[in-house]
Symmetry: C2
Subunit: 379 residues, 2 copies
């Protein structure tokens, strides 16, 4: 049966203060926002089967241009049908542009007006990314949402440096857009830069809207400026952004960052924190983070979070999870990554619901009160 590919689009369904409840429509499915996107850097959400990721309620995931261009290679992924097909992910996929990772390489990279030349962290081989090549790679990866190639301005930066960096990102955004190959149900997002300077952020928003994208990201935050400076920058930036386009805060963050981001009008987030913490023994709970390696859990028959329905909480004790971490068993990170992604999705579900019923402020208070309680007492 013929099923027409839906147009890429964003519909705002409700608002509560600056917080927004929306639906993003793509060729590969709908995404209810605010949304958290688990990160599958190398075309796998670390330690999880795709069906486990789906079971948490995740509807869109992220993959990484920089990592995939180096290994297994963009053209190879294309021959295998793109990232989604290769890794067995049925929903929409967002890829970052590689800009952030390349900038992180430090002395291994060299920036010029047209792009960045860099050495692979894997084998030292030389590569080059430009707005055109990054966009082409994301096409080869079959990204449902392509990100513009930008320079993630380091923090701290003087206003002059931030302005020049932002201006370069805006010239690259234009070239990224020119290189984007439009397909029904697919979109491309521009990335707002400008560090913590509100006038630069405003200038960046205007420049990107002048080019015109299907969505807009806020980049260059969560790079060391601290949560309050991040929130301040968001407050000065999101009100300038178009209401009818999705807003994506890149690389963020901790649970309280997500709550504060939604409160300031952000619709989309991604972060490695839930899976990375899952590998180191940190579990996120309604009562704050819990370190399962701590000896206090060794004899505790209770679940990590009794209000959580993930397999780690529904079927296992803290004592068993503690044992798995002490024994460095793979199942430890499998279970805790699953739990953490599940927790993040629960948090987003609760926020979506709170906005729908216009109780987001109450939700925020309850969230911070619960987090402040700290972990349950030892037995």
């Amino acid at each position: 049966m013929f099923k027409p590919t839906p147009e890429f689009g964003f519909a705002l369904k409700a608002t509560d203060g600056l917080a927004r409840r929306g639906t993003l429509t793509t060729a590969w499915g709908q995404v209810e926002t605010p949304v958290f996107m688990p990160v599958g850097t190398a075309a796998t959400v670390k330690g999880m089967m795709p069906e486990s990721v789906v079971s948490t309620g995740a509807s869109i995931i992220l993959a990484n241009t920089y990592h995939l261009m180096l290994r297994p290679g963009a053209e190879r992924v294309a021959k295998l049908g793109g990232v989604r097909k290769m890794m067995g992910w049925d929903g929409p996929l967002l890829t970052d542009s590689g800009g952030f990772q390349v900038m992180s390489l430090g002395s291994l990279r060299k920036l010029d007006e047209d792009g960045v030349t860099f050495k692979s962290h894997l084998d030292g081989s030389q590569h080059r990314l430009t707005p055109k090549r990054s966009t082409e790679i994301q096409y080869l990866l079959d990204a449902t949402i392509t990100m513009a190639f930008d320079e993630c301005t380091p923090f701290p930066a003087t206003k002059l440096v931030a302005a020049e960096s932002m201006a370069l990102s805006m010239r690259w955004a234009k070239r990224s857009r020119e290189a984007f190959h439009p397909r029904t149900g697919y979109g491309q997002f521009g990335i707002v830069q400008g560090s913590v300077f509100s006038d630069l952020r405003a200038e960046s928003v205007a420049a990107l809207e002048g080019i015109g994208f299907e969505g807009y990201a806020v980049g260059g935050l969560a790079v060391g400026e601290g949560q309050s400076a991040m929130f301040e920058t968001l407050e000065e930036t999101t009100p300038l952004m178009l209401d009818n386009k999705p807003r994506y805060l890149m690389g963020v963050g901790k649970p309280s960052d997500l709550v504060g981001g939604v409160a300031r009008g952000i619709d989309m987030f991604d972060c490695v924190l839930p899976t990375r913490s899952g590998r180191t023994g940190q579990g996120f709970t309604r009562r704050g983070p819990v370190n399962l390696k701590n000896a206090r859990h060794a004899d505790d028959p209770r679940p990590l979070d009794e209000s959580c329905s993930c397999p780690a909480c529904a079927r296992y004790s803290r004592a068993y999870l503690h044992h798995l971490f002490k024994a460095e068993e793979v199942l430890s990170l499998m279970l805790l990554s699953w739990h953490n992604i599940h927790y993040y999705q629960d948090l987003m579900r609760e926020m979506r619901r709170a906005i729908e019923i216009e109780r987001f402020s109450e939700f925020e208070i309850l969230f911070h009160t619960m987090q402040g309680l700290g972990d349950i007492d030892p037995l």
Copy 2:
């Protein structure tokens, strides 16, 4: 509703030559034999969720007295309801006695008439295992099948050494039996020793049957003697063993070892090979082992084994599996361990079926022919 616990028992349903098709009944479920038991050393089959293990068709798993007594500790496991409850395994569980691991410690252990004193490989702390303590630990772990504590005779051994070692194991078998606390639906197996000397094996079988166990294992094989010596020893040993009791070949083996073991009257096997190989990139297939790290797979869109229905084969390409191994992603070992356990269970299913229809010789020929073909040609 009251459900009476079934008696522990073994019923022979069919034979074909020496090959046997049976059903083992336990308090925690039935086991169709010949059976392969995946190994969950530290109360987890490495890299797999228990439900994934079940989905392969596995009906009984193994855990390890030595590892669990050191971490998390037998008394702690008992407080958590035993290994089965702690790890969420619904079926029967067999525990080895710790003898094999302790003997492997070399200079870290000291043997005397009553048992072994040894230093933990984890922290050097001193511990002691005796037939009584090993049996008590397995009770604390809630093993459905407890193994007698024995000395695994090293290979090669002179006949004198092998005879003395076997005699010690027989004295320990008696003490293990005395320490066994009978429960309905639970059983204890004695372990035949005697290295490659058929008269010693015969003496050991007689000694164990004199004590009386619910089942009998063949120990001290697959320790370097080679497949043909192992098969020869089996041929001289299994015909002496009771027909109406299960026979378990410990720590074996490769697919061809399992086929040859079944052909020689073995009912039960365990081995770390499928999960260990899963971690190093070796996949077992109907056409022999395949090393997924090999560059020949980098662009291959075909499944590892097209006749396999496991998730790794049903949903992913060799190219993706190769990528996951090159990128050292956790999902690589998750998928390949799953496949390998699934392959082993398929192999056992096929053997059970072949015995039922009295076509085991034809099965053996087909198995060796297929394995001899080697992997499919590169594209």
